[in-house]
Symmetry: C2
Subunit: 390 residues, 2 copies
Amino acid sequence: MAREPKLRPAAPIGIKDIARELGISIGTVDRALNGKPDISAATRARVLDLAKQLGYTPNLAARYLQSRKPVRISVHLPHRIALFWDALRDGIREAAAPFAPALDVDYRTYPCLGDGDIPLLEQALADGTDGLIIAPGNPSALAPHLREAARRNIPVVCVVTDAPDSPRLLSVSADPFTVGAVAGELLGRFTAGTGQVGFFTGWLATQDHADKLRGFVSSLSASNPGLSLGPIIEAHDDEREAHRRARDVLRAHPQLKGLYVSTVNSMPVLRAAEQEGRLEGLTVVTTDLFPELVDWIRTGRVAATVYQRPLTQGRVALQALYQFLQRRHRMPDSQRVVPYVVMRSNLDLVLERLSVDHRSGDGDRMVARRPEKRPPAAKPRPTTRRRTNP
Amino acid sequence: MAREPKLRPAAPIGIKDIARELGISIGTVDRALNGKPDISAATRARVLDLAKQLGYTPNLAARYLQSRKPVRISVHLPHRIALFWDALRDGIREAAAPFAPALDVDYRTYPCLGDGDIPLLEQALADGTDGLIIAPGNPSALAPHLREAARRNIPVVCVVTDAPDSPRLLSVSADPFTVGAVAGELLGRFTAGTGQVGFFTGWLATQDHADKLRGFVSSLSASNPGLSLGPIIEAHDDEREAHRRARDVLRAHPQLKGLYVSTVNSMPVLRAAEQEGRLEGLTVVTTDLFPELVDWIRTGRVAATVYQRPLTQGRVALQALYQFLQRRHRMPDSQRVVPYVVMRSNLDLVLERLSVDHRSGDGDRMVARRPEKRPPAAKPRPTTRRRTNP
DNA sequence: GTTCGCTCCGTGAACGTTCACGGCCAGTTT
DNA sequence: AAACTGGCCGTGAACGTTCACGGAGCGAAC
């Protein structure tokens, strides 16, 4: 354990080792390994065999040094809701940075989920790209193009949403069932007594939203037998509709104990509850995080929000894709991100992490907006320190 | 937007561009840039100037290709508590994998936090290492060695614990104040009515534990004015002592409403509560996650646990260190990881992530132990899918 | 004046790949 | 028989660095 001169990994075997062993030239080995023409099937097989047997792994440094074209990854994401998708793009950017300049990511944006992604995908396939990161809004319409990508050996990673019936390398998402289940458990444990809770969603026909509802139901009464699911409201991503329906529902259910707003934009519902003077008696849990919500959490009007961590989703997606492109490493085909439970006590920490990722850009997205007004639960200050245990 | 042949980044300038510009040889430029001897101060300055002016960045691929010695990072972590530190090591391993074989991590283990790390550090400095990841158990005793490392330009990253008064590149930790605050908020919101809650810790003299207490206090009554902090128990990381003290405290405080166990090993306290028949009336929040705890959460006997995410801490630490070693990129000197709130509803998802990281090894750490007995809240099954919104 | 030593600098060979080029040998066409 | 074709393969130059070697210049010691 003391000296041990850290024995060299015995010079990993390279292309020329294979050539020497087989008595052929390195050019031929190159052709065999990279699936190029101008080589007989027999020698190709021999090379491939020996390469596998010897455990050959290409030296990526040398490869990049030679043909200095970087790996190209196309990222196709919607514009709306900007805050969410921008964070996702940031996560990708952050994860891609260490690999520059061997990796070249280009971002393309289309207006709205499921609307305009197909032409972009066609174009990327035409222009030639090495890998794709997309958010399939309409999996069935996308399917033929994904099959085409698979045929051409272009790996595709799905983020946030999934296209489970199409060929794709893997999908990254905050498991919607768990997101709903966490919201249900929080609401169940936060709310004392008996009664009903309301569930706001976008479209129930949407897979993700339906999963959230199932998760929510599965844990709500398990956590608090006194609670049951009351009204289920589809807001259709429309501010005015959401506000109107929220108001109506609150009036129709004066006994409502809690709300789970699972749509991206929870503000209309929150404002309606406030205007109806119902906030006192309601426990509210929302989804995701945006500037307007920060203050509601800080003041406790929203008890908690379940954050789907777009930044992390982006990072995981890019890393998985790049690892596959470089060394054909294949991860489990469903990477599920653990959602954050964000409450008043950890809000600042979450926001800190969010703003940190903006060294390169605009910088003022979530945090700067609300300076240091409410002292966010006393900053830690140094005291005596001795030893520490996790 | 359509054609755009993705203009090449105009061939990043290299060592020979500088040489040509200055009318000297690449060997000299190399000596200047890498601080080697055998070069006059004048030419060195000229080269350094021009390099900065031209924005020269070394081609890492070429560098690695040539002098194929990898970057060496030494990781010094305790053995106990194995589960926690092993997970941390796994996080490092996982993050280091993409950079192999240009990165060579060697792990050294000492028995217990703060006990035996110093000789290891001395040895690593003597053997020559490019960077260090450590968990400073006793910052003041470590200080001179950290200064020595700084003098030799060897960057040091602290994980889990910190040595804020010594020079170090940065520290990664789950902010203990927030960990305590989250526990306090959960306990406050989970517990109805009025009364006292107990706080179990290791040593209050420990910085981290004291911070957790402060965080806990700051959010407990803010979340539930009816609750106040009752007994504070130091268990000194001793199973028997913890069990005995827990029993005594429970008997002395028959009205206790809740418990927060902030020590690594919460089992003695939990078992004492069970034996005393007090579990029904107690809301229990713990810290971190280990196999024995899984069942307690699943059955609801433990309401939630605040998980400090050693895996993520390891990943962040390694990435920060490697980025600094390669390109001198410097991140904020305090990387704070957002702790997970783990409850019954997301327990399986967290465990899934944990077990996934064991492709390479033993594999059966947390998950395999408890197969599929209790159906963990209905797996999602496919239904109709149309479009999706985050 | 030769030898030695020292400082500073240029030279060229690696490192593991990729790729364009050209060569050889079969078989087929003029 | 010469010329052409196409399949298969070897050759060698790059890619941007690092590093060992050696040489030019210059002053000091013999």
